[in-house]
């Protein structure tokens, strides 16, 4: 547990450092995510994944992600601060969100429906 927490913190720390150092537009934790994913995939490719380590990391991460909604709360409550900004635009903002969301859902689902192939079709070509 402690090792996994350390690994996650370390990757975030490296991510934050890289973001600041190269003045990137990608948030630090996202860089940490990419680095962690890359390291895990490289380790897996060369069969170097310590069995225990992966199990523990998977467990800790899933524990953390189970409470993901909770971590949004402190900032979510911040809407109290910005009610005045959204108040005069509330109707248009909600309209933009509803229309934008439904259109994006429809387009993305449609493209994926056309392009997605399941395993059987792919297996045939080999």
């Amino acid at each position: 547990m402690l090792n996994s927490i350390f690994a996650i913190f370390l990757f975030q720390l490296i991510g934050e450092f890289i973001q600041k150092f190269f003045e990137l537009s990608v948030p630090g934790p996202v860089i940490g995510l990419i680095l962690l994913l890359s390291v895990l995939l490289i380790l897996k490719k060369y069969n170097l994944t310590p069995k225990n380590f992966e199990d523990k990391l998977v467990n800790s991460s899933e524990n953390l992600l189970n409470y993901l909604p909770l971590f949004f709360m402190p900032v979510g409550v911040g809407v109290v601060m910005h009610l005045s900004l959204i108040e005069e635009n509330l109707v248009s903002v909600v309209f933009i969100i509803i229309l934008g969301t439904l259109l994006t859902l429809a387009l993305t689902g449609f493209i994926m429906e056309k392009l997605f192939q399941d395993k059987n079709k792919n297996g045939r070509s080999k």
Binding site: V26, G78, Q117
Partner: protein, 241 residues
């Protein structure tokens, strides 16, 4: 008889300490989560929405400044970063499935994520919104920690983005199924991917509760759209300015 002055001085002491606000935050979340489960995971009763409303009402009712609350609750806020890094794990676990469908995923990802940004920007211009509000709206389709990170970097208001992202999640998760039925989409993977890309974690949770394959593809869509949007939004802003 209880000494009113003593109670008041205890309150003054407690409200200056993080413990009170951390307990309130977690307690509200637990209550909201119970309501959500009792309602059979009804999407409009999303635990984040309910618990935020709960805490906000308490703050407004007792006339407490947000800074006072956040100063205590920031320890919970801190965990957003590590949780973002931890998203590497579900992506890692579904990596084989991603590789198998990488072409389909890549094309849907680029078109879907770009479309989300462009349609949001276009509608914002149509409604003549302030710049700060537009910037807060742009990253609304991706998982909240990433959306807030993007918002902060491009000069939006992160907490406003968090709420907009939340509304996007709830709307996608609750109305998505009607859109997909209307379009007669048959592949669960396509439905899931659309939900994850558009409505991040809330959409993914919804997809997961309906169908396992839909859930896996929602997680892939959520993770990848988070990555690509954090590159696309700044790029889009550079192009239009």
């Amino acid at each position: 008889m209880v000494d009113q002055n003593k109670l008041y001085s205890i309150w003054v002491y407690l409200q200056a300490e993080p413990l009170f606000w951390l307990t309130l935050t977690i307690g509200s979340y637990i209550i909201a989560d119970i309501i959500y489960r009792k309602s059979n995971l009804f999407p409009l009763l999303n635990p984040v929405a309910i618990s935020v409303l709960l805490v906000s009402s308490i703050l407004i009712f007792f006339d407490i400044r947000y800074e006072r609350y956040f100063d205590g609750a920031k320890f919970i806020h801190f965990l957003l970063g590590p949780a973002t890094v931890a998203l590497a794990i579900p992506i890692y676990k579904t990596w084989d499935l991603i590789i198998l469908n990488c072409r389909a995923i890549f094309i849907s990802l680029i078109i879907g994520s770009s479309f989300s940004i462009i349609v949001t920007y276009g509608l914002s211009l149509y409604f003549d919104l302030q710049d700060k509000l537009i910037l807060s709206l742009l990253p609304r389709s991706v998982t909240t920690p990433i959306a807030m990170g993007i918002s902060e970097l491009i000069g939006g208001i992160p907490s406003l983005t968090a709420i907009i992202t939340l509304i996007t999640g709830v709307i996608g998760a609750s109305l998505g199924i009607f859109v997909f039925d209307l379009m007669k989409l048959k592949k669960m993977e396509a439905r899931g991917f659309g939900l994850g890309l558009t409505s991040h974690g809330i959409g993914t949770a919804r997809a997961m509760s309906k169908n396992k394959n839909a859930g896996v593809f929602a997680a892939v869509g959520m993770g990848l759209s988070g990555l690509i949007t954090s590159i696309l939004v700044p790029l889009f802003l550079k192009m239009i300015l």
